[in-house]
């Protein structure tokens, strides 16, 4: 299959996307059913052609077709097949193709599961998805064609950027894009509702599970990215407040807020306008995220393959989608009726607090990320805003959230009893404080303030467990009955508890590793040893090794504790031959959730080498906690009431859901 077919497929996909967006919109406006009926088949056609284009590019990579410029730039004869496949999204053009492929996956899921929605509404939703597709397909076709030829064909390619040759990095973009693009569904629902001028209760029952799914994927994508930065960059850090990281974090914060406000909207018919606004915001931030990473406007440690001229085009897309959505919102939102009343101390009140904190902290991250850019445009001064800025603003804003979180689920809807919540939580709070003091004492060292951070983490974990405890009624009924009740709780209750528990574990990991980590940088000669976290790390020898597309100098270290052998760890400096690019491969060894992290610096005289040894206590909690949060999202999604899938039982379960809601 020749690459030109891929180009052709993209053009056909764009034409179909145009049909998918314009005709149903006109149809919905004029009440023309024939035009509305175009939406689904056009979307299906578009998906086929986009999948074809993606397949052709992947095939070109797998069979070393270096006559394609993009393939020649991002792969190499020595690159293993799995990295050649992942190289499809290893740079700008292909990653956009992945973006549009994932958009089509979401659209097809929508097309499949939206048949119970009112026809006018469904065709508007699919049309909005089509509009987004038009924007991105035009962007690919006019500025970033992945199928451009390189003639004469070179004998070998330039290789994939070595830092991207890592399992974390192959996972990261697809997961992240599943999240980013997933928010487009809630966005499309919002736009369709605003166009129609009415916000059915059904809106939120449909929009919430999609958001939930997107949020879970985004969480996973951020975890993969953070793990990659930690393991692959060799700097020992797991979060740098780099613009690219912030770009994925802001939609996550907005999406988290959206999940919580949609809950209020579903249960109490309040916060309707706000929820619609959040849905627009979350997707706008996702678009901005794509823009930040892919335009190279911002300085960033991992801005690879950048081209400022493309920024103009993305800026256009941003203006049309974000500007258009907000304009529509400004005109139509006042027409949406707002519902249920609630007292400040109530479940709703707690969720409003959650939303307030999440959106305000997302705003500070936005300011820190964009302010340097803005200042440069206005005054020409080049500044950078470092991690201390984010740690100070974001950290302080988050502090009240940590303390308030366990109270939320304990409060009743409409009017809550704060004293009652206190009574249910004081055991958890007491245990949390004791656990934090013990941990602090055992680890010795660090500022006393850290005790409060640890206690907050434990409090959230115990609070989530206490929530389940009281819901099952362990305090009221016999244990066996309580267990039965626990098993009978709706899945969404477990989802909430898991997500909160995971968040607590992440907080614990963050506080613990920030407080207790130790770092030693020293020159070592064979036979020398350093201490880290109670382990003795002995440098034995250097040896040369060769991988498929790199050569490396590997250093062998033996680990021991109190004279007992604890295994070995290899750490290396690689040179990727095609690009002549050196990378550091850290040697990482886990002990429970703690890790020893050994990375190499420059070689010194007489066989010595500079070695950096970190002890990272409880660092795995950061990612484990986030994965538990993600699991919480999936568990919630499997709740009968919200089930997206199960086509054979759908009619029934939708009926049940409708009845339950009434």
């Amino acid at each position: 299959m020749t690459p030109e077919l891929g180009q052709l497929a993209l053009i056909l996909a764009m034409l179909l996307a145009l049909a998918q967006s314009i005709l149903p919109l006109v149809g919905a406006w004029r009440g023309n059913r024939a035009l509305m009926a175009v939406a689904r088949p056009a979307a299906a056609g578009q998906a086929v052609f986009v999948a074809m284009a993606f397949g052709i590019l992947a095939w070109a990579f797998l069979r070393f077709d270096f006559s394609v410029q993009y393939v020649a730039d991002n792969s190499n004869l020595a690159l293993p097949w799995y990295y050649r496949f992942a190289a499809v999204w290893g740079a700008h053009e292909g990653s956009l193709l992945l973006w549009i492929l994932i958009l089509n996956l979401w659209t097809m899921a929508l097309v499949t599961f939206s048949q119970k929605l009112p026809e006018v509404f469904a065709s508007r939703v699919i049309a909005v998805m089509g509009l987004i597709a038009v924007g991105f397909l035009a962007f690919i076709i006019f500025t970033s064609n992945p199928f451009g030829r390189l003639l004469p064909m070179p004998g070998d390619g330039a290789d994939l950027n070595p830092v991207l040759q890592d399992p974390g990095m192959t996972m990261h973009p697809p997961m992240l894009y599943m999240g980013y693009v997933g928010f487009s569904v809630a966005f499309a629902f919002s736009i369709a509702a605003l166009l129609g001028g009415e916000l059915e209760q059904a809106w939120v029952r449909w929009a919430r599970p999609w958001t939930n799914l997107a949020w879970a994927f985004l969480t996973c994508g951020i975890v993969a990215g953070s793990w990659w930065a930690y393991a692959e960059l060799g700097w020992g850090g797991w979060w740098f407040w780099d613009p690219v990281e912030n770009a994925s974090f802001m939609p996550w914060l907005a999406g988290t807020a959206l999940l919580h406000s949609a809950l209020v909207m579903e249960k109490r018919e309040a916060l309707k306008i706000w929820t619609v606004l959040l849905a627009i915001l979350a997707f706008s931030l996702s678009l901005l995220g794509t823009f930040l990473v892919r335009s190279g406007v911002l300085t960033s440690v991992h801005a690879f393959a950048t081209d400022p001229s493309r920024g103009i085009f993305i800026l256009g897309i941003l203006t049309i989608f974000i500007g258009g959505a907000f304009t529509l919102f400004a005109f139509r939102a006042p027409a949406l009726k707002s519902g249920g009343l609630f007292a400040p101390i109530s479940r709703e009140g707690a969720l409003v607090l959650n939303n307030l904190i999440l959106t305000v902290s997302a705003a500070t991250v936005l300011v820190g990320t964009l302010y340097p850019l803005l200042l440069e445009t206005l005054t020409g001064d080049k500044i950078s805003v470092g991690p201390p800025f984010f740690n100070l603003t974001f950290g302080l804003l988050m502090a009240p959230l940590l303390i308030a979180l366990p109270f939320g689920p304990m409060l009743a809807w409409k009017r809550g009893d704060l004293l009652g919540a206190f009574q249910r939580l004081y055991v958890a709070a007491g245990l949390a404080l004791v656990a934090a003091v013990i941990l602090f004492y055992v680890q010795h060292g660090g500022p006393v303030l850290a005790v409060f951070g640890l206690a907050a983490g434990f409090f959230i974990v115990f609070g989530a467990l206490a929530d389940l405890w009281y819901r099952a009624g362990f305090n009221k009924v016999s244990t066996s009955v309580a267990f039965q009740r626990l098993a009978g709780l709706p899945r969404s209750a477990f989802g909430t508890a898991l997500a909160h528990l995971g968040f607590g574990v992440t907080v614990l990991g963050i506080v613990a590793v920030t407080t207790f980590e130790t770092e030693t940088v020293t020159e070592m000669k064979p036979g020398m040893a350093v201490e880290a976290g109670g382990y003795t790390v002995t440098f034995d020898r250097m040896m040369a090794a060769k991988g498929p597309n790199f050569t490396e100098d590997r250093a062998h270290f033996t680990l021991s504790k109190g004279g007992v052998d604890m295994g070995e760890v290899w750490s290396s400096k690689r040179l990727y031959t095609a690009r002549r690019m050196p990378t550091t491969e850290a040697g990482i060894r886990s002990f429970g959730t703690s890790q020893l992290y050994v990375s190499l610096g420059d070689p010194m005289a007489e066989g010595g080498i500079v070695v950096r040894v970190w002890w990272k206590p409880f660092i795995l909690c950061i990612w484990i906690g986030a994965l538990v949060m993600m699991a919480g999202g999936f568990v919630s999604l499997s709740d009968r009431r919200l089930r997206v899938g199960a086509p054979t039982r759908r009619t029934k379960s939708v009926k049940v859901a409708l009845e339950a809601a009434e």
């Binding site: 300085t299 440690v301 950048t306 081209d307 609630f342 902290s361 500070t364 100070l392 690009r579 050196p582």
Partner: protein, 159 residues
């Protein structure tokens, strides 16, 4: 005047939003004042533009042959140059993988007499990538025609 529940609730929410926004704004302003680092080139520093900044970022190329490692410690000295100036830099620690002669780097640190003492050194990320802000800063520093032309070639077309 007694307020009806809807208005009362709205007022509470609006006040809460205002309070949160105010807290965030104060935090942001305070944090920005203390954590903003300017990027300057050696010639800008030599013309006195660094006066008044405790910490700033120095950007330029590593002068070929200027890298000197001390034999017994992790101290490294090198010279960062742009078209109009040169600045000796001292750094203790591990340099990034891509650090080498003629590499464009950004060092964060402060002046100590005529030397720049760096606490962090970043090298450009791969061969085809030069931080845009560094490129611009260098262009602005010399307004040199050659530099600009070279940049236009390498900057707009990255391959």
């Amino acid at each position: 005047m007694p307020m009806n529940p809807t208005r009362k609730r709205r007022l509470t929410i609006v006040l809460a939003i205002l309070a949160a926004a105010a807290v965030a704004a104060v935090l942001v302003v305070l944090a920005l004042q203390n954590n903003m680092n300017y990027l300057l080139t050696p010639s800008q520093v030599q013309s006195g533009e660094a006066a008044g900044y405790k910490t700033f970022r120095l950007g330029g190329m590593v002068k070929a042959g200027s890298i000197q490692r001390s034999g017994d410690s992790l101290k490294v000295t090198f010279t960062v140059v742009d078209a109009g100036g040169a600045m000796p830099v001292e750094y203790t620690g591990i340099l990034p993988d891509l650090f080498r002669d003629n590499q464009s780097v950004i060092a964060t640190g402060h002046m100590d007499g005529a030397r720049f003492v760096a606490t962090e050194v970043l090298a450009k990320h791969d061969e085809t990538y030069m931080p845009k802000e560094l490129k611009d800063a260098m262009a602005k520093a010399h307004e040199g025609k050659q530099v600009k032309e070279a940049e236009n070639e390498s900057g707009m077309e990255n391959r």
